[in-house]
C-alpha cells in the first residue's frame, strides 16, 4: 500500500460505505493550513440532478482512500454540519496550502505548491507536495515532506535537505522520501 494520489485526483471520486452503497462524491478537499494536512472533504450528491450536500467528511472518519473510491464505515461517518469540518479554513494562518510557497529553513524558495500528494490505504496521509519550481524552467517537481518546519497559508517551510530529494513523478517519490528520511535521521 504505497500508492500515491494527487489531492486533485480525489475530487469526483465516489464515497462508498463498507456496505457497498455510494452515498456521495467528493466535491473538494479542505486543507488544514496549520498542519499542512488534509482536514476534510466537502461532498456533493451523486447523479445528474444532485447538488452540493450540507454534509462533510472529516479526514479522521475515512476508512480508506483508494484509487477508485473513498471508503467510509457507514453513513454516520459524514457530519451534518459542514461548518465543523471546514471552519479552521478561516482560522489563524488560514487559506489554502495550494498556491502557498515552499521555502527551505535557510531561505531559498523552492516554488509554488500546486498539489498535495497523499498516500492511499487505510491510513491515508500527506507525503509530499507537487510544486512548480521558482526558476524560469517552471518544472513540476514532487517534494517529499516528512516533517515540515512550519506551515501557514502563505508558505510551507521545509528542512534544507529537502531540496536535494525531489522526484519527477509519483513513482520516484518513494525513493526521494526514503532518502530524505535517512538524511534527516543522520542530522539528528
Amino acid at each position: 500500500m504505497s500508492d500515491y494520489l494527487r489531492a486533485r485526483e480525489i475530487i469526483k471520486k465516489p464515497v462508498v460505505t463498507l456496505g457497498g452503497e455510494a452515498v456521495a462524491q467528493i466535491k473538494d478537499v479542505v486543507f488544514d493550513a496549520a498542519r499542512g494536512d488534509i482536514r476534510a472533504f466537502t461532498l456533493s450528491g451523486r447523479g445528474l440532478l444532485a447538488g452540493p450536500m450540507k454534509r462533510a467528511l472529516s479526514w479522521k472518519n475515512v476508512h480508506a482512500l483508494g484509487p477508485d473510491a473513498v471508503i467510509i464505515p457507514d453513513e454516520t461517518a459524514m457530519e451534518d454540519d459542514a461548518g465543523t469540518a471546514t471552519e479552521a479554513q478561516d482560522g489563524p494562518g488560514g487559506g489554502n496550502v495550494l498556491g502557498a510557497r515552499m521555502l527551505t529553513a535557510s531561505g531559498s524558495d523552492l516554488g509554488k505548491i500546486n498539489d498535495v500528494i497523499v498516500q492511499t490505504g487505510k491510513r491515508p496521509r500527506v507525503v509530499g507536495y507537487q510544486i512548480e519550481t521558482a526558476d524560469t524552467a517552471r518544472q513540476q517537481i514532487l517534494v517529499p515532506v516528512l516533517k515540515p518546519v512550519s506551515v501557514s497559508g502563505e508558505m510551507v517551510v521545509v528542512p534544507d535537505a529537502t531540496a536535494q530529494y525531489t522526484a519527477g513523478d509519483l513513482a520516484g517519490l518513494t525513493a526521494a522520501a526514503q532518502g530524505l528520511h535517512n538524511r534527516l535521521e543522520q542530522e539528528k
Partner: protein, 146 residues
C-alpha cells in the same frame, strides 16, 4: 454450488405440492458472508423475495419452501431495503475496502445447506467468501486481509 447453477431451479411449496416459481438471483450480506435471500420469478405474480431462513431445503432439483406466506412481492420493497433488486450482487463492481476496483462479480459459490458464501467469482480472480464485507447498490466491498 454456484449461483449460476441455482438460477432457474424451480421453487416448490411442499404443503400444496405446487411449483410457485424459479430462482432468478440472490442477496448477500457480509460478516459473516452469507446468502440472505433469494429473488424468485413467480408465475403470473412478478418477482418475490424469499429470505434464506424460509428455505426448508435447497435440493438438487428444487428449492423447497413450506408456505407462501413468507414471500414478499418485490414491488413493495423500498429502495433502501437490502432485499431491493438493485442490491443483487451479480455484475456489481468489486471494491476493496482500500478503495480499489477489482473487476465485477460473475458468480457466487455457496453452501446450499447453510447459505454460507465460500467464494466470490470475479472477472479479476476469485476471492474467499469471508472477505465479503457488504453488498450495496453501488458495489460489493471486500476486505484486503484474508
Amino acid at each position: 454450488m454456484l449461483l449460476s447453477q441455482a438460477v432457474g431451479r424451480p421453487v416448490v411449496n411442499v404443503t400444496t405440492a405446487e411449483t410457485i416459481g424459479t430462482v432468478t438471483g440472490c442477496f448477500v450480506s457480509g460478516r459473516p458472508a452469507r446468502i440472505t435471500a433469494l429473488h424468485l420469478n413467480t408465475r403470473g405474480h412478478g418477482g418475490h423475495i424469499l429470505t434464506w431462513d424460509n428455505v426448508r431445503s435447497f435440493g438438487q432439483d428444487a428449492v423447497i419452501i413450506r408456505s407462501m406466506e413468507k414471500l414478499r412481492p418485490d414491488k413493495h420493497i423500498d429502495s433502501q431495503d437490502p432485499a431491493h433488486p438493485s442490491h443483487d450482487p451479480i455484475g456489481k463492481p468489486v471494491l476493496t475496502e482500500t478503495g480499489e476496483l477489482h473487476g465485477t462479480v460473475e458468480d457466487i459459490d455457496f453452501d446450499q445447506q447453510t447459505g454460507h458464501i465460500q467464494r466470490l467469482v470475479a472477472t479479476e480472480g476469485d476471492m474467499p467468501g469471508e472477505t465479503l464485507l457488504g453488498s450495496g447498490s453501488y458495489a460489493v466491498v471486500t476486505s484486503t486481509t484474508t
